[in-house]
Amino acid sequence: MNDGATNAAASSVGEVRRVAALARLELTDERAEAMRGELERVLAHAERLLAQDVEGVEPMAHAGDAGVSGVSGGSGRSGGSAAEGGGISGRSDEDVPAVEPGGVAWVGNAPRVVGPFFGVPRVLGGGET
C-alpha cells in the first residue's frame, strides 16, 4: 500500500487556499497547513489508480449504470451502456404539474426573509437588503 506523499500535487498551502476559495471556504493558517498534508497523503494513495489500464473503459458516473443483474452484464471496454431494463437511468417522466408546498414553506427556514423573498446583502453598494 502506497501511503507516501511523493507524487501528489497538493504541494503548497497557497494551492490549498486557492482550492478552498473556489469552494467558498476560508481556512486558518493552521488548518490550511494541516489540510495540505492530509490531501497530499490521500492523493498519493489514490495514485495507485494511475497504474490501471483504463484505455477504452467508459467512465461509470452513476450507479444507475449498474442496471439490473441478469440483464445488463459487463460493459467494460466495449463502452458503457445504460441500464437496459433497469428502470434507473435515463428515465423520462410525463411533464405533469404537481402540487408542492407553497412559497412560505420553502422560505420558512431561510436565515433572513424579506416579504416572500430570501434576504441577502446587496450586490452593489454593500449592506443588507
Binding site: 488548518r31 494511475l50 490501471q52 450507479a63 449498474a66
Partner: protein, 484 residues
Amino acid sequence: MSAAEIARAVRAGETSAVDVARAAIERIRAQDEAINAVREVTESGAMAAAARIDEAVARGEDPGRLAGVPVLIKDNLCVSAGDGGGATCAGSWMLEGFESPYTATAVRRLLDAGAVIVGRANMDEFAMGSSGEHCAFGVTRNPRDTGRVPGGSSSGSAAGVAAGYVPLALGSDTGGSIRQPAAHCGVVGFKPSYGRVSRYGLIAFASSLDQVGPITATVEDAVLASEVLCGWDERDATSSKNAAMRVDTSDGDAPLRVGVVREAMGDGASPAVRSAVERAAKAVEDAGGEVVEVSLPRLELGIDAYYLVAPVEAASNLARYDGVRYGRRAELSPGDGLLDMYVKSRSAGFGEEVQRRIVLGTYAARAGYADKYYERALRVRRLLKDDVDALMRTAGNDGGVDALLLPTTAGPAFKLGEKLTDPLEMYLEDVFTVLANLIGGCAISVPMGSVGVEGVELPIGVQVMGGWGCDEVVLRVAGVIECV
C-alpha cells in the same frame, strides 16, 4: 422484542403501541447520556402516532406490517413537523434547527406501515465519517464499550439498536455507513441495491452512491423493514421500476453458491475477522450450500476510487449551503457583500471533516486535474463493476456465485480518538464496504461472534454482498449465517 414480534403483538391487540413507545423513550432517557445515540427524542409526535395505531387496532383495522414499532431516524432524512419527526440537522451546525417542509419517502413508507418515530439518531456530519466522532452534537459512543467508537456515519442508528432502545433504525450508506457501524455495534445493517429505496428527502452527500437502509437486531427484521422500504418512487429520478422487494426465506430448495473473496482474507483483515468469515462460510456449507474462493484483484482500488468520486459529488451537493435559503448564516460585518456571506457562513457552519472533503473534491474535479483523478476513478469504478459481474450467477454466469462473502471491517471497533488525527487511516476503515456502493449493488453486515480486547468482547461483522438486484438472495444468505 424484535420489530416483527412487536408488530405482531400490536396488530393482535396484545400490546399497546403507546406502551411500546413510552418504554422505548424511557430506555433512551435512562441510558443515552452515556452513549449519545439520539440527538432529539420526539416524544409528543411518538405518543400521538402510537395512540393513532392503538385506535386503529381498536376499530378492527390493520395499522400495517410495522404496527407500533418504535424507530430512530437518522438525522439526514427529512421529516416534516406534521409527521412529528423533529428537526433535521444532518449532524451539522449548518442545519441546526432545520425543519423540513416535507417527509422523506423512506420515512413515509415506515410511517404508512405503522412505525412510530421516537427520535432522531446522531450521525457524522452530512454522513461523512466512519467513527461517529464528526458530529456537531457530540460524539456517539459504542454501547459495547463506551471508550470505543460505534462506527459511522449512521452511528446513532447502530448504537441505538445495539443499546436496545429500538429494534429498527434508518440509516444511510454512501460508502459503508450502515454496515460498518452495524459491525462495530454487533447489529445487522443492510444497504439495498441503488434505486430500490427512494432517496427523496435524504440530504445528499454523494448522489450516485447514497442509499437508505435499515439497521436492526435480526436479519428477519432487516427483511421486514426492506420489504416496507423498497419500492419505486416518482419523486426520485434514480428510483428503479423494479424496486419492490419480497424475500422468500423459506426457499431452501435451491442450493446457495457463495464466493469468499480471496483478496479480503489477507493481512488487511485481522485474524479474528478472517475467522468470522470462515465460520460464516461453514454455515453456508452446513446449510447445504457450496462455498468457493473467488478473486477480486482490484478490490483495494475501490477505496481510492471512492475517495475521489464521493468528495467530488459532495463538493457539488454541499454548494447549496450558502446561508441564503436555509441553514446557518454567519454574523456579517459592515460592508460585507454576498461573497463574504457565502464564505463566512460555510466556514463557520461546516465542521473540519466536511471542509476537508469539500476541498478534496474541489481539488480533484477542477480543470486540469479531473482527467487525472476523477475520470480515472470513474473508469476504475466500471472495471470494479465488471469484476463483480463476472463472478455473479445472476449476471448470467452459470458457474457464478449467488453472493460474495467478505469482512465488513478490518477489525473490531477502535478507541475514541484513535484515528481522528489521521484522515487516511479513517478512510481505510471503508476498504471492504465501498465496493457495493461503487457498483450500485447490495450488501449486509451480520454479527459473527466477537473478539476479546482488553477484557471486553467486541463484535465482529461479516458482509454478504451482491450485484444490483441480488438483495433477496443476499438476505437469504444473511439468514443462514445469522444462525451460527
